[in-house]
Each structure stands twice: as C-alpha cells, then as structure tokens.
C-alpha cells in the first residue's frame, strides 16, 4: 500500500511494514531537544537519573536560548544546573548561551537530517521538516521520560497535501505563503495532522522552507515537511553533511491524504496576521497605516542571513522612523557572524537597529523587548497571542522581514511593494 511521509517514516521507526492513521506505535527518536526547560525536566527525575542514568548520551540536544544571558538569579541557577547535568552525563550535543535558537542550531549543526525522527520539548520542533525530517513537539514530562527510556508512543496522523504552484511575485515571501495558508485553514485546521508541501518547492531555499515548516504548528500540525531535493542536498553539503550520512524518506505517489490543497503562489500578496491569533490574516491593504512602536526582525521563524539581507537592502543608508524601536534577533551565532561579515548588521544598526543576543527571549515575553500597554509591535516571529510579548494590553502583528523593514522606516504598517516602486 502507498504511504504518506508520516506513515512511511513512522512505520520505519516502529519496525512495521505498514501502518494506518490512528494506529499507535512505539518509536525511538534520533534526538530529543530541550532548551532552558532542561532544568525543570531534569528536576523531575533526579533519583531515576542516579539509578538508571540517561538512555543514551547522544539522544539529548540541549540549547540555552530562552532566557539568555540569564535575566535573574533563578535563570542563572537553571543554566548552571543544566551545565552540571551536561558535564555529569557527558552530553555531547550541548550549546551554551549565545550559540543560538535551538531549532536553528539543530538544523545548522546537522542534527536534523532527512529521514530522521526528532522530538522536542518545544512546539516549534516541527521546523526540521525543512530538510525532510519528521519532527514534533512534546512536553517536559515526556522529555523527562524519553531521557530515561529513549522511547515514546506516537499516533499515526492523517496527512494533508499542500501543492504549491507557479512562482511568488517579488516582495512576497515564504512568510506570506505560510501566513496565507494558516489564514485559510485556521489555527486548528491541521490539528493532529502531518502536513506535506509538494509542487513548485524548488524555488524555496532551506531558509524559506524553515520559515514555512516552523509555522506548521500554528495550524495545529503534528509536523510539516518538504521533500528532499537538490536544494536540501546542497544545503546539507554546505554545512559539511555528505549524502552518505542520510537516507531521505519520500512519500509514495499514490498515498491517501485526508485533504489536498493547491495554492497558486503568483496570486499570494503580502499579508499580516493581526491580533490576537495567527490565523487572523489580512491582506496588507487592509492594515496599512496602523502605527507601530516596535519592530522585531529575527527569531527562529525569520532570523537567518537571508532575512537580514532582505531587510538591509531596504534600510541601507536610511533611518528607521524615530517612534520605532527596531530589534534584531539573529537565530544563531553563525548567522550573526555571517550577517556581520556581509555588512548587513552594520547597515541595520546604522539605520537604528538594536542587536539582541541570539535567542528567543522577546518572542515569548520571557526576556527583553517587552511591550507597554497600548503599544503595537510588527514582528517576523510566529505568534501574536494576547500577552505574548509580556503585556496583555499590547498588540502584535506578524509579517515578513521585508514588510517589517519597510514598515520600520515609516513608523506604520506599509506595503513593501510601494517602497520598491520608489
């Protein structure tokens, strides 16, 4: 029988030849992601760790990214506890303060490979579908259990096939694609489902695929994936991973999908997700002119070199609007350095930007960049929930890096295509 990506890869990890949606299987993931929450995770199982140890020292990947550098003693203590755990159990895949956001680290260190299975105690673990991995979010308790046993249960999901056709127009980005899709299918439209992207995907770089897969969870998806192609292989080769190191899993041509959707990319326009849900998506023309006080350019969704390049092109030689604070949040140290090397950071700082340490802090209101009541932020991040950036009486709008950069210049939400005509 023909199988979807999720069916095929989960069958492989469950040691079955055939699986059905709804079936529950036991799997052993290749990696288990944790971040600052490794501290409370470890705290749950201190006696068990002493008695049984960790299942495998290669299983966990720990990245300090959520509250970095430590904002207060409590965070510093958690970070210290994590470092001690890493030392005691000789965990090789550990990344300390400043290395980057966990999801970007997993990708650029070659820890997520085509055909692998990764679970993580963070909802945006679904990002690694960008390189054809099956990856999904779990909670802290499940991460604790996995540390000890190396295994967990997964339900074989139904799959949704999204076929992308034609080419994106200029000034329209991968972010506009995924926001448009989420606006259509709704925040619950892919609940429990595996989402596969097919069709004209070769126009998207791994950076752009990451932006799209990263937001799969915003429509409720269990995972989101792109098929492995030349673009994937070239990317992996650029980070030193040769073809012999992975075996891609491709969905079968005649697989059964719960739903099939088709998008004409040439018809997609710049869009903005307005408060307070990611599926509250409006065409830019409907929200143009709304004044903003903060712009956040970066995060695991849009904090890569290509994103800073796009913004730097727009802001070169210009100044952001005096009423706007432009925060720059590179997704990793490597990206930060590359963006410095290329001059993009210089351009953006000269334009008035403030660089924050590579991490997650402002995106969830955990550290830096908090909003005041009545303020509005236009962000390239993935969530605009009420209270998300530390204040329940502030508004968060989500858009692409080009829309954010152009809007930062004008102090209000602006269609990036207008800037292009100047």
């Amino acid at each position: 029988m023909n199988m979807t990506f999720a069916e095929k890869i989960l069958a492989k990890y469950a040691g079955e030849t055939q699986v059905q949606p709804g079936q529950i299987v036991t799997v052993r993931p290749d990696h288990l992601l944790m971040h600052d929450n490794a501290a409370p995770i470890i705290a749950k199982i201190i006696p068990e760790l002493k008695e049984y140890g960790v299942y495998s020292k290669d299983l966990p990947v720990i990245v300090l990214d959520h509250v970095i550098p430590a904002a207060a003693e409590k965070n510093a203590l958690q970070h210290k506890q994590i470092r001690e755990f890493v030392k005691t159990y000789k965990i090789p895949h550990f990344f300390d303060v400043g290395d980057g956001v966990c999801h970007q680290i997993i990708l650029e260190k070659g820890l997520a490979l085509p055909g692998t299975l990764i679970l993580g105690s963070d909802s945006h673990t679904c990002s690694y579908g960008a390189v054809g991995a099956f990856s999904s979010g779990i909670d802290r308790t499940e991460a604790a259990a996995l540390l000890l046993t190396g295994e967990t249960w997964l339900k074989i999901p139904q799959s949704i096939k999204i076929t992308l056709q034609k080419k994106l127009s200029r000034w329209v980005t991968a972010k506009d694609v995924i926001l448009s899709i989420i606006g259509d299918v709704s925040a619950s439209g892919a609940d429990y489902c595996s989402v596969e992207f097919h069709g004209a995907v070769s126009q998207f770089s791994v950076d752009e695929r990451f932006t799209i897969a990263n937001m799969g969870v915003e429509m409720g998806a269990k995972n989101a994936m792109f098929p492995v192609d030349d673009v994937t292989m070239q990317y992996l080769s650029s980070i030193g991973v040769s073809k012999s190191k992975y075996k891609p899993v491709h969905p079968d041509a005649g697989a059964t999908y719960e739903r099939e959707l088709t998008y004409d990319l040439s018809a997609i326009e710049p869009v903005v997700a307005v408060p307070h849900s990611v599926d509250n998506v409006k065409s830019i023309s409907e929200v143009e002119g709304i004044e903003i006080q903060q712009c956040l350019l970066g995060t695991c969704t849009n904090g890569r070199v290509s994103d800073f390049k796009a913004a730097a092109k727009i802001l070169k030689g210009k100044k952001v609007h005096p009423a706007v604070r432009l925060l720059l949040l590179p997704a990793s140290r490597t990206i930060y350095l590359d963006a410095v090397q290329e001059g993009y950071i210089k351009t953006l700082v000269e334009a008035g930007g403030t660089v924050l340490p590579p991490g997650c802090g402002p995106c969830l209101g955990a550290h830096q960049g908090a909003l005041a009541p009545g303020e509005r932020c236009l962000s390239t991040s993935n969530r605009n929930f009420k209270g998300r950036m530390g204040c329940k009486d502030a508004d968060i709008y989500l858009a692409s890096p080009v829309t954010v950069a152009v809007s930062a210049l004008h102090g209000k939400i602006t269609d990036p295509r207008k800037e292009a005509k100047k």
């Binding site: 705290a43 207060a72 046993t149």
Partner: protein, 163 residues
Amino acid sequence: MTIWRYKDNINTDMLFPGKYTYTCSTAEEIKPHLLEDLDPLFAKNVKEDDLIFAGRNFGCGSSREQPVLGLKAVGIAAVVAESFARIFYRSSINQGLLLIECPEAVKAYKQGDDVFLDVEKGTLSIGSKTFSFPKLPTEILAICDAGGLLPYTRQKLKQKKKR
C-alpha cells in the same frame, strides 16, 4: 460546581503567560497565574471538581506544561472541548488531567444546566441529555492507570531491571 466557559483557540499564553515560564514551575507558583490574561476571576474562584467547557483547539500554542499542572492542582475534574491541540492533549495524559473531546456536549450546554460527570462510565450528563465519551486506547490508558507518565516510566524501568 462551576462550569467555566471559554471560546475557540484558547492558547497556552492565555492559560499561563509566557513571561512566567522560567520562573514558575511548581503547582503553588503556577496557581495564582492560571488563565491570568484570559479570565482574572478563574484563579481566585476556581474550586475542586469544577469543569472547563471550551470550543475548538483548546491548549494551542506552546509546549507549556504549567497550565496542565495548574489545572490538575486546582482540582479541575475535566476539560470538555470541541477539540484539543495535540501537545496539550499529550501533556494532559502525562499528568492525568482528564480531557473530554465532545463537540456535542459543548454545544448542548446552556448556562444553568445541571452537569454530572461519571468518569467510570465515561458519560457526561448535561440537563436531560447524556453524552458518552470513548475511553483512551489501551496503550495510553496504561499511562493514565499508572497515575501519569512519570509513575508509568518508573514502573517500566523497574520491570526492565528485574529482567
């Protein structure tokens, strides 16, 4: 018993604000902030055996265990919703918080209706109507029967050691 009613897409930031995620992890630390930005009256007035009725996609958003721990700690008997987001659903199994996915029950409920939950029988009575909710699959029921994922894991590790 109070029925707390909420709409669709109640996300994890509404259930427990992100700004507290790295400062609160015990039940006592979590309780005062439960549903803080959604319903400030909830943490003040919630009582043992209360129920939450909600629309679609309850618990969407982050992987955030605090709301589950908190709802369990204040004694919420069950969350009845039209549907749940998957990480929240798994997390509730792991903590032994009962979730009932039953759109018909949510739609049938009107303020003032008498509500009776019978966990053993797997039924929820609302006014004159009774709704049954399916038991969890056997593999998952074993986790609930053990009292949550950590007790289940401890059992499993002990059995392995004996062998």
